[in-house]
């Protein structure tokens, strides 16, 4: 499986995923396709996600949409002004929390017995990875000068 997620200079997000599926699959099986919401999702309000791994488990958890929903709620919980008693989290703290979201969703996949990984970008320009396998072919680049590729943990 291959995929990409991007934030452009206009502030728009996009996600794309493509795969050959699983060796030896039968019976018209399409559970390992990058179904919208499970393996691929993009929403300017939250993030763009592309996934790779045990497709059926990603469907059951709704991984890509679940990550976007949680990030949207995280943003809302920190920025909604009606809760004046609740102090806004520091920028650093929010950034750390964002990494916890894909980690937590992938942990749910693992709990059910599946494995794999996700890439995501946020409207703020973070490019994040999360995977529960020994390796993941991956790369990221940003306008701040980050440019890296990696395979192993």
């Amino acid at each position: 499986t291959v995929g990409a997620v991007a934030l452009d200079q206009q502030g728009n997000l996009a996600a794309a995923t493509s795969t050959g599926g699983l060796t030896g699959k039968r019976w018209g099986r399409i559970g390992d396709a990058p179904i919208i919401g499970a393996g691929t999702y993009a929403d300017n309000r939250a993030c763009a996600v592309s996934a790779t791994g045990a497709g059926e488990y990603f469907i059951r958890v709704g991984v890509a949409h679940e990550i976007c929903s949680r990030l949207r709620m995280l943003e809302a919980s920190n920025y909604l002004k009606f809760d004046k008693a609740r102090p806004l989290a520091a920028e650093e703290e929010i950034r750390a929390m964002k990494q916890l979201v894909p980690d937590a969703v992938l942990a749910e996949v693992k709990e059910l017995g599946g494995d794999g990984g996700v890439i995501l970008v946020t409207p703020e320009g973070e490019a994040l990875f999360s995977f529960n396998t020994p390796g993941m072919y991956r790369g990221r680049a940003t306008s701040t000068g980050m440019r890296e590729v990696a395979i192993f943990e």
């Binding site: 990409a4 200079q9 794309a16 493509s18 050959g20 060796t23 790779t52 020994p134 991956r138 990696a150």
Partner: protein, 170 residues
């Protein structure tokens, strides 16, 4: 302007001890080239959709990765391809599954999205739609690689039951 890009070429039991340094360098070079293709579009002010399409088409064309040319084989020794794309601005989406002759399935997924009437097309119908939209088709043998065929043969030689073969990985 701020831009950002992340890419992947699959995840799994990828162990350093099973890969030569030359192979590792080849994979890293392929990933870097795909990353640069998408980055240059974003740095020039291009759209996120164009950037992710540029990355994915490049990786689909590279037989090292399990998508497009170099895809794994089904039990019946066919290459069946799937792809999906989504626009975060509008939440428009397009996906295809089980196509066997579309050179770059991600282009077909984007055509499905742009058409707007449907989100998910499959098999023969998706290929008919592709022909109507002028999406490039190839002979299915284009996707075939010996490495992937060997992997299927090894799987079959293990004489697994149907249930074993249909284990939940993809």
């Amino acid at each position: 302007g701020r831009w950002s890009l992340a890419i992947h070429g699959g995840a799994g039991t990828i162990l350093r001890e099973n890969m030569t340094s030359d192979q590792e360098a080849e994979y890293e070079a392929a990933l870097a080239a795909a990353l640069d293709a998408g980055s240059s579009i974003l740095a020039d002010g291009g759209s996120a959709l164009d950037a992710v399409e540029a990355v994915v088409t490049r990786l689909e064309d590279d037989p090292k990765f399990n998508a497009g040319r170099g895809a794994v084989f089904t039990w019946d020794e066919a290459n069946e391809l799937d792809a999906a794309i989504m626009d975060g601005r509008t939440r428009e989406a397009g996906a295809v599954t089980g196509v066997t002759s579309i050179k770059n399935p991600i282009l077909l997924a984007r055509a499905v999205m742009m058409d707007g009437r449907h989100v998910f097309l499959s098999g023969e119908g998706a290929e008919t739609f592709a022909n109507e939209r002028g999406i490039e088709a190839v002979d299915p043998s284009y996707f075939r690689t010996e490495k992937r065929l060997e992997a299927l043969k090894r799987l079959k030689e293990r004489e697994l039951s149907a249930l074993d073969v249909d284990h939940k990985y993809g």
